[in-house]
């Protein structure tokens, strides 16, 4: 996992710190952050990422719009995308599957769940 480049997208500074800390512990060394979908798209166009973790509810461009954008692009149509969100309704998860999200985690989550879901989507 050390050689994989990861982008984590969340408007909450708290969540960005928690997840960056967790990703480093899991073994990812190259982790970058974005505050929303627009910020993420800029970073994604500037470099190549192997894994994307994104929140759903964000200003400017939310996680759903970001995923739709990425799945329509040639570079990121097959890249693993993990949605990490407070939205825990069945319809939300169904919608996430439809737009092409690879995995889904509802906040709050444990380090074990995060590690397992990342392993699942990277296989």
């Amino acid at each position: 996992m050390a050689n994989k480049k990861v982008l984590f997208v969340d408007d909450s500074p708290t969540m960005r710190r928690i997840i960056k800390n967790s990703l480093n512990k899991i073994g990812f060394e190259d982790v970058e952050e974005a505050e929303n979908g627009v910020d993420a798209l800029q970073k994604l166009s500037a470099g190549r990422y192997d894994l994307i973790l994104t929140d759903w509810n964000m200003p400017e461009m939310n996680g759903e719009e970001l995923v739709v954008n990425l799945r329509a692009s040639a570079e990121y149509k097959n890249t693993p995308i993990l949605m990490i969100t407070t939205r825990g309704m069945k319809d939300d998860v169904i919608n996430a599957v439809k737009i092409g999200v690879s995995g889904y985690i509802v906040k709050p989550f444990t380090p074990e769940v995060l590690k397992k879901k990342i392993t699942d989507v990277l296989v």
């Binding site: 909450s12 500074p13 708290t14 928690i18 407070t86 906040k107 709050p108 989550f109 444990t110």
Partner: protein, 207 residues
Amino acid sequence: MEKQYNLEDVISKVHEIRGFLRSGDEILPFLGDLLQFLRDMMPLIQEAGVSLKEGTSNLPTASNRISDVTQTTELATQEILDKLDAISEKLSRLGKTVDSAANQQIEVIQNDVTDIIYALQFQDITSQKLEHANRILAAIYEKFISIFTSMNLVRTSSHLGSKVIEELQDGIQDKLTGRETTEFHEKIQDTVRDHEISQDDIDQLFS
């Protein structure tokens, strides 16, 4: 011939007037009831208007309060995370200088630190719930504002409407400036750091 026609015309008019007065006899009690109903309703509508105005004027403050809570908890959470990161680093350094038994204990503490870090997700979750509450307040605010706009439209559409709305608004204004709203203001008074006072000033009051 012309005179006879005029007489018939007058008689016809008299019949018309009589008919009008007959229906007037029936309409007048109804109009009386309607006016009495309006008279009874005016204070109630004024009361509703006062509540609406007071509620509307305080919604932005409530919304700002919610945003303050989010900012305060976010800052506090960042401070806690800073401390936890520092503790974690110290534990890692300590682990390199102690034996394996002590290292096991350090690992247990490291796991506890990780648990605390993950528990801090509550800050993001609660702030999203507060954000939702804020959106509800904003929607209510917009609704209230549209009610006031509608009141002004009624005012311009007819003379009677203008008079009624004018009286209503005067009554609302009187109540807003009068004592009627004291209870409401007591309930919504901001007691959190409303009157900033230094600890020295507090101590002086006790001395």
